[in-house]
């Protein structure tokens, strides 16, 4: 037993080669397990958890600050050293971060009020350490072109702190989680622009097409982020107000406006382009649904928010983990069929989850469960295909985060 433990924690185990490896693994596991638990609670197989804030807060928090946070940490701790040309973080420090994340999940799951303190401590220290690791290098870059990540993480720290303050004070903590959704949407736009610029232009170059190169244009991005921020703050300050409805429509339009960058002809049908495109489609539809529902008096905020988190956030995490995970572990882009399958399942889960809010739905009860089940299946598929990549040795025998230059597997 102790032999196994020492093997897992030994810094030369492939799992610790690079920060994305443990974090992506745990993110996918959390995505699957937390949803399975939620499915159990929905169907009455599991008792509702006795956590501070109630079961819905637990569900929302674990998906946003458990699942998404792990994926975010893995991505940033891998991408920022690459952007700035610095070595990846020391493996011991990485192990501490992962331990903090795990402890936070455990503490929150057991949270009566007492353990909520513990969860707050673990989660907020993790987020602060994450900011501490990436802020310096990004700030020292001559043109500070990636500094938006730091601002977004600071906003995330603010909302997460606010969440725990509200939770511990016994107030309604959901508005803070809604605010966090806005921050995550902005983060998706920031991160995706960096990833897609390279990925799509590589594909266009490989195809030898003569269309104009893909450019993620900063003013459009800034408008979309501004509109999302305006909606999130508006909804936070004036919950349920029509003002937020208009702002949601503005956000939807600004995101649809982003898609102008993506209309690059036939290359759009490639999976590496289509999945990111669908992320923005889900995001725009989500905000549009929130806005239209609010203004027409047929409140659809929950359905819209699930379009944002199941559709946009779920797809974004899937594609980022699939791309960054296989490139930085030396395997090259993964062209196998499981990725479109998992992405398709996530889209299906999104549609079902949104339809489950339909007033006269036969699928209302079954829709929730079916959507959760499909989401669960999608992450199982990811895990089944990624465990070997994330926890196994590199094909080139190195022990680093280097990208492959050998082409595709």
């Amino acid at each position: 037993m102790s032999f196994h433990f020492s093997r897992i924690f030994s810094a030369s185990t492939p799992l610790w080669f690079c920060p994305f490896r443990p974090f992506f693994l745990f993110a996918a596991a959390q995505g699957a397990l937390a949803m399975a638990a939620w499915l159990g609670m929905l169907t009455g197989l599991l008792p509702l958890p006795k956590v501070a804030g109630g079961a819905i807060v637990w569900h929302a928090h674990e998906m946003l600050f458990g699942f998404a946070m792990a994926a975010l940490a893995g991505f940033l701790l891998t991408a920022v050293p690459e952007f700035t040309g610095q070595p990846p973080m020391p493996r011991r420090r990485l192990q501490w971060l992962v331990a903090l994340w795990l402890a936070g999940r455990l503490a929150f799951a057991c949270a009566g009020t007492l353990a909520a303190w513990l969860a707050a401590l673990c989660d907020l220290v993790l987020l602060s350490m994450l900011i501490g690791s990436i802020a310096g290098p990004l700030w020292r870059q001559p043109d500070r072109r990636h500094i938006a990540f730091v601002y977004a993480l600071l906003a995330l720290l603010f909302t997460h702190s606010g969440f725990y303050f509200a939770l511990l004070a016994g107030d309604d903590a959901m508005p803070w989680l809604r605010l966090a959704i806005g921050v995550l949407m902005a983060l998706i736009i920031v991160a995706l622009s960096r990833i897609s610029m390279r990925l799509i232009n590589d594909i266009l170059a490989a195809q030898g097409t003569e269309t104009a190169p893909y450019l993620a244009r900063p003013p459009r991005r800034a408008l979309a982020i501004f509109a999302i921020a305006a909606y999130s703050v508006g909804e936070f300050l004036l919950p349920g107000n029509a003002v937020a409805g208009w702002l949601a429509l503005a956000a939807a339009s600004a995101i649809a406006n982003l898609l102008n960058d993506w209309h690059i002809g036939r290359a759009l049908c490639q999976r590496w382009v289509l999945i990111p495109y669908l992320i923005y489609v889900c995001m725009a539809l989500g905000y549009a649904l929130i806005g239209v529902g609010r203004l027409s008096g047929m409140e659809a905020t929950s359905a819209g928010e699930h379009l944002l988190v199941v559709g946009a956030l779920g797809l974004a995490i899937l594609v980022v983990m699939a791309v960054a995970g296989s490139i930085h572990s030396g395997w090259g882009l993964d062209h196998r069929g499981w990725l479109p399958l998992a992405a398709g399942l996530l889209c299906l889960a999104t549609v079902l989850r949104a339809l489950a809010e339909w007033p006269a739905a036969v699928i209302a009860e079954n829709g929730l469960a079916a959507s959760a089940l499909i989401w669960f299946a999608a992450w199982l598929i990811y895990l089944a295909n990624a465990v070997r990549i994330l926890a196994g040795p590199r094909p080139d025998g190195k022990q680093a985060c280097d990208e492959t230059h050998q082409g595709n597997c």
């Binding site: 408008l223 029509a242 003002v243 702002l247 429509l249 503005a250 649809a256 102008n260 209309h263």
Partner: protein, 258 residues
């Protein structure tokens, strides 16, 4: 097919404008909630009233009357202004002569013309039509004049040298250049026509959108006033972005190659 793609692209670019319009509506909504319905109705109330006006059939006759007047005045200004402007632009002397007069016409406020028109034409169609005409004319005239004044002499010489037939010179050398000056003038004039006709109706006639606005004002019906204003501005935006701007892009496509 390429044209279809370009149109689709152009329409999709509209999302950016929509985003800023929605932000504006959010501000309006906030202000309306703050000040109350008597000062400022919410966008929802204004749109609702507008929809009612349309579904009850009360809106169409007024809009048709107003559109007829605006288009008549605008059409007169367009044809006369363009023709005279193009002709005057051919002669330097005429241009020098025309400039102070145009300045005078532009400088006179439309309300002053309206008063004169009331004296001359009375309270009928003539007053708004004339006011629209006189407000739009100098704008179109200046554009047309600039168009012929700035024709490229070298291009003319080249066309001459190659012995282009007159209709080819007209269609491929003169027309594209002149239109690039005329068109902005036409668009500005259209906006002016739409604004001026309502003002003229408000003060001078008993029918049309302007008169309807006067009635809503006297009834302190802010929601209906806003509804009419929304209809006016909305139709202007639609004409400009869905009709004129695409035509302009089509006609000015040579500029990207020039």
């Amino acid at each position: 097919m390429a044209w279809l793609t370009a149109t689709g692209r152009y329409l999709w670019c509209g999302w950016g404008s929509l985003a800023s319009l929605f932000l504006f509506l959010a501000l309006w909504e906030y202000a309306a909630q703050h000040f109350g319905p008597l000062i400022l109705p919410t966008p929802g109330e204004a749109f609702g009233t507008l929809a009612e006006l349309f579904s009850s059939g009360a809106a169409w006759p007024e809009i048709l009357v107003t559109a007829r007047r605006a288009l008549l005045g605008y059409g007169l200004a367009l044809s006369l202004g363009s023709l005279l402007g193009l002709l005057v632009g051919l002669s330097v002397t005429a241009s020098v002569l025309a400039r102070p007069i145009v300045t005078l016409l532009v400088g006179t406020p439309p309300v002053a013309w309206l008063i004169l028109a009331l004296l001359w034409f009375g309270a009928g169609d003539g007053t708004p039509v004339f006011t629209v005409f006189i407000a739009c004319f100098p704008i179109v005239f200046v554009g047309a004049m600039q168009g012929t004044r700035t024709l490229d002499g070298q291009l003319q010489a080249v066309a001459q040298m190659f012995g282009l037939p007159w209709w080819m010179k007209l269609a491929d050398v003169y027309f594209p250049h002149v239109v690039s000056y005329l068109f902005p003038g036409w668009i500005t004039a259209l906006g002016t026509a739409w604004k001026v006709v309502v003002m003229a109706e408000l003060l001078a006639t008993s029918d049309g959108v302007g008169a309807a606005l006067a009635v809503t004002r006297s009834h302190l019906d802010t929601a209906a006033s806003m509804a009419w204003i929304v209809a006016l501005v909305g139709s202007l935006l639609a004409i400009e972005y869905l009709l004129l701007e695409p035509i302009k892009r089509k006609i000015e496509s040579w500029r990207t190659f020039a």
